[in-house]
């Protein structure tokens, strides 16, 4: 098993289910764009990996528009593909057979687990929460922000195989000028007993909300204690902006909105182009989950709120006045 520098850059395809069929998640297109930039340094091809049955066929045209030449369609026998140890062994098998130079995946909790195990299985260096990846002096170099977005670090991966987990919204997705027609390669992977010792005894997928996913949205409107449980103004502005709805720990603990909406160091970490916080004071745990956002807007009635220290545009005022007025003005500007 070798991993030459001009070996394929392999991208794990994340999906969600729409009308019963697997569809690519939007951040995958950003990943494919980054992968192409990384591959260009060594003239390497970009490959994709599909672990979900039917995904390779469903996604072939779309990944072709992003320059993918091979889609690896992996089956794992009677093992459960939802278990991250199983996914890790499937990825290790593909990386080995393809002689990959790098494996890229989105920085979700599941992919972090699979990547960590892939590192143990293959000896690959792993960097998570990346915002950029390139090759310098032959080495894969990854940018990431740490300490709640207050520092940027650049880190070289010194192993022949590099595993990089990339945050959503790291780069804009850009298709290629001349789409490719990817070839599909099937792989039947035999999963070890060790990867199957924990078993999935139940799995319930959450119904889609109709709004973008919080982790991957380009705009997020979030509500906190100041909403007093009334998210209508937050939701109205979110829908005008095509934004996802988020919340603070207080709001989710109060049951005003589901726990999956919690932004913070232990909830969802976001870095959208636009973050609007309404009735949010900006406690350190919340800031840790959103401080890397592009433009930060805060609306709060308390001028002493710490969120104003990091806001690009702060309004001291009542969110129930400011948000509906902003939504109305945005509608008017759009005509």
């Amino acid at each position: 098993m070798t991993h030459p520098a001009d070996g394929p850059v392999v991208v794990l395809l994340d999906h969600h289910t729409v009308d019963g069929a697997p569809r690519l998640r939007p951040p995958v297109l950003e990943l494919l764009t980054l992968a192409r930039g990384l591959a260009r340094h060594t003239g390497a091809p970009v490959h994709a990996v599909a672990l979900e049955p039917g995904l390779a066929a469903a996604a072939a045209d779309e990944v072709g528009r992003y320059g993918v030449t091979v889609v690896h369609d992996v089956t794992v026998g009677d093992a459960d593909r939802h278990l991250t140890p199983v996914a890790a062994e499937a990825l290790a098998a593909v990386a080995s057979r393809a002689g990959a130079s790098a494996v890229l995946a989105t920085s979700t909790f599941e992919n972090k687990e699979a990547a960590a195990r892939l590192g143990v299985l293959t000896g690959a260096g792993v960097v998570s929460d990346a915002t950029g990846v390139t090759r310098e002096d032959g080495e894969v170099v990854v940018s990431k922000t740490v300490f709640a977005g207050t520092w940027t670090t650049r880190c070289a991966i010194t192993t022949p195989l590099a595993v990089v987990l990339v945050k959503a919204n790291a780069v804009p997705a850009e298709p290629v000028d001349a789409p490719t027609e990817p070839r599909t390669e099937g792989h039947a992977v035999t999963v070890s007993a060790g990867a199957r010792r924990a078993t999935l005894t139940g799995r319930t997928e959450r119904a889609a909300t109709g709004r973008p996913e919080l982790a991957e949205a380009q705009a997020v409107v979030a509500g906190g204690r100041g909403t007093n449980g009334d998210f209508s103004a937050v939701e109205e502005l979110a829908d005008v902006l095509g934004a996802a709805v988020g919340a603070t720990r207080v709001a989710t603990d109060e049951g005003w909105i589901g726990h999956e909406a919690q932004i913070g160091q232990t909830g969802v970490t976001i870095s959208p182009q636009l973050y609007i916080g309404a009735g949010i004071s900006g406690a350190v745990h919340h800031r840790g989950g959103m401080q890397a956002s592009g433009t930060i807007v805060a609306v709060n009635s308390d001028p002493e709120s710490p969120i104003f220290e990091i806001a690009d545009f702060g309004v001291v005022g009542d969110l129930f006045d400011v948000l509906p007025q902003a939504a109305a003005e945005i509608r008017r500007l759009r005509g």
């Binding site: 143990v120 792993v126 929460d129 959450r206 999956e260 807007v297 545009f313």
Partner: protein, 263 residues
């Protein structure tokens, strides 16, 4: 039941956290603390030990001098004893170096009686990479049950419930196993005066790499698979605007967003 709970000493998130010129986290001790998310792991360990009876909870850390404060905090909460892997060769370890040292220490602890459960927090609040629990499970070849919002042990098996971005899952595995818990799993107990006094008498065993059979070249900067090539604080945000609503703030906000092509 014998439970090993892994804890990490991290810079206090309320303090001014920074990276040194070598790109590593500045750990000058004064503002350090037990990683808050590891308190949930300690609490889970104590609760499971209390439920099972006749159990031992060992708090384990890999870290420099000063990191025993994290172990001491776990002992104050109620862990029975501590183990610290302390060795100059560990400086600059990446997650896999840390995992190598932790796994070796767990095997050493298991040498005088099998370990049933290894518990960790969901992430460390300094690095937040969340890579360690899965890597440690793989290294120890233990069943991996991560991000538990609920955990229970019964009849030699562990069961968890976890909430992911798009799904809710339940997992089960026979012991021994590795479990990571989230901050939803429990409310960590606060050490009381009795606990703080008792912790003074609890032993913390300090082990060097040689004591746990780890080659120094496999860990630390020498064994790391990544190398920091640069780091810088994010430049301050410029042209910031703060207004008080005079009845037009919503309109001005919309115009601000439109000027920046954000609508």
């Amino acid at each position: 039941m014998k439970i090993v709970v892994c804890v990490k000493f991290v810079p206090d998130i309320q303090a001014d956290r920074r990276l040194g010129q070598d790109g590593r986290v500045v750990r000058d001790g004064g503002d350090g603390t037990l990683n808050e998310l590891d308190e949930n792991a300690v609490e889970a360990a104590l609760a499971l030990a209390e439920a099972a009876g006749d159990s031992e909870v060992v708090a384990l850390t890999v870290g420099p001098a000063g990191a025993e404060d994290a172990v001491r905090r776990a002992l104050q909460m109620g862990a029975d004893r501590g183990v610290q892997v302390l060795d100059d060769a560990l400086a600059g370890s990446d997650v896999f170096g840390t995992v190598t040292a932790l796994a070796a220490a767990v095997r050493r602890i298991a040498a005088d009686g099998p370990v049933d459960l290894v518990l960790t927090g969901m992430a460390a609040l300094d690095g937040l990479t969340s890579l360690l629990p899965a890597a440690l499970a793989a290294e120890l070849d233990l069943p991996q049950l991560t991000l538990a919002a609920e955990v229970a042990v019964e009849d030699g098996a562990v069961r968890i419930r976890r909430e992911l971005d798009g799904a809710s899952e339940t997992l089960a595995a026979p012991l021994p196993a590795l479990v990571s818990v989230t901050d939803q799993a429990n409310a960590p107990r606060y050490p009381n005066f009795k606990g703080i006094m008792a912790a003074r008498k609890k032993p913390i065993q300090v082990l060097a790499l040689a004591d746990v059979g780890v080659d120094p070249a496999a860990v630390g900067a020498a064994g790391a698979r990544t190398r920091i090539v640069g780091s810088s604080p994010r430049p301050p945000r410029e042209d910031r605007v703060l207004i008080t609503d005079d009845g037009t703030a919503g309109t001005r906000l919309a115009q601000y967003l439109a000027e920046r092509k954000l609508v």
